[in-house]
Symmetry: C2
Subunit: 158 residues, 2 copies
């Protein structure tokens, strides 16, 4: 193997800076009638790039040892990590290598949601309401549908 072929792993501080610019911690709550509580909580970490920079997504995938690279939209690709145990590792990484932007607040909320899920709170309406309220605080522009649903409205009247 020549020196040129010896691919080095990305430096963790580079990864921190890149993700601070380009990464996203996101949680959606989707209506899934076949699930016992009727809703599914889907946390994910993603980094989106134009397809010309897919190689950086592959480097990040190697770095985190996790995730899938899929088409995001048109010529955009995304690295997406969804498994709970892998997301826990991502959160641990960013607790060590600190984000500098407001994204660090979203990381804290994201970490809280993962913890609630580990305690199976997403399997009850009360827990889902707590998670949905946290989601809403990550992105005030989009109120989760769950918070407008009949389940929540019934629950509020308990």
């Amino acid at each position: 193997m020549t020196a040129d072929n010896q691919q080095e792993r990305l430096d963790p501080r580079y990864v921190c800076g890149f993700v601070d610019g380009e990464g996203c911690f996101h949680v959606s709550i989707n209506k899934v009638p076949k699930m016992s509580v009727g809703w599914q909580v889907l946390p994910e970490f993603r980094v989106v790039q134009h397809e010309r920079d897919e190689s950086v997504l592959k480097e990040l995938q190697k770095f985190f040892g996790a995730g899938k690279i899929v088409t995001n939209h048109g010529t955009r690709k995304e690295l997406r990590i969804r498994k709970l145990n892998e997301l826990r590792d991502v959160v641990s990484f960013f607790k060590k290598y600190k984000l500098q932007t407001q994204k660090k607040k979203n990381l804290e909320i994201f970490a809280n949601i993962l913890e609630l899920m580990e305690h199976k709170k997403h399997l009850t309406i009360e827990g889902l309401t707590e998670i949905a309220t946290l989601c809403w605080s990550m992105n005030r522009k989009i109120k989760p549908h769950f918070l407008e649903s009949s389940e929540t409205i019934c629950q509020k009247s308990f």
Copy 2:
């Protein structure tokens, strides 16, 4: 000064990662009739963020010891570095801390343009044509007006 007040400088590898995602090397060639050659070459390095993350731009400004923070558009702010000697330092930094995205190609072209300017090539129509062709190779979508101008067309017929 308490520990909380002791602001640490950003780590250079964090800066490299952040700029790889969010930074931009840009050169415009503007018609300025009062200049002897009629055109001005304006190279700049910029990082744009939502105003909520202006603090990161300030950290980058401190890190590079250069640049101004101005309004980019609406709620977006930008750190902008335009002075040639400061841009030289920025280029030197990114030759040491390597970019991973296709932006590294733009950095190379940007460095070439700075070198041509140091040799005063931007003060002749021939040099401007060379610079404009390099600009165009940075962004194939936008052909510099200079390359369509009468000066260039005359020059081509030499």
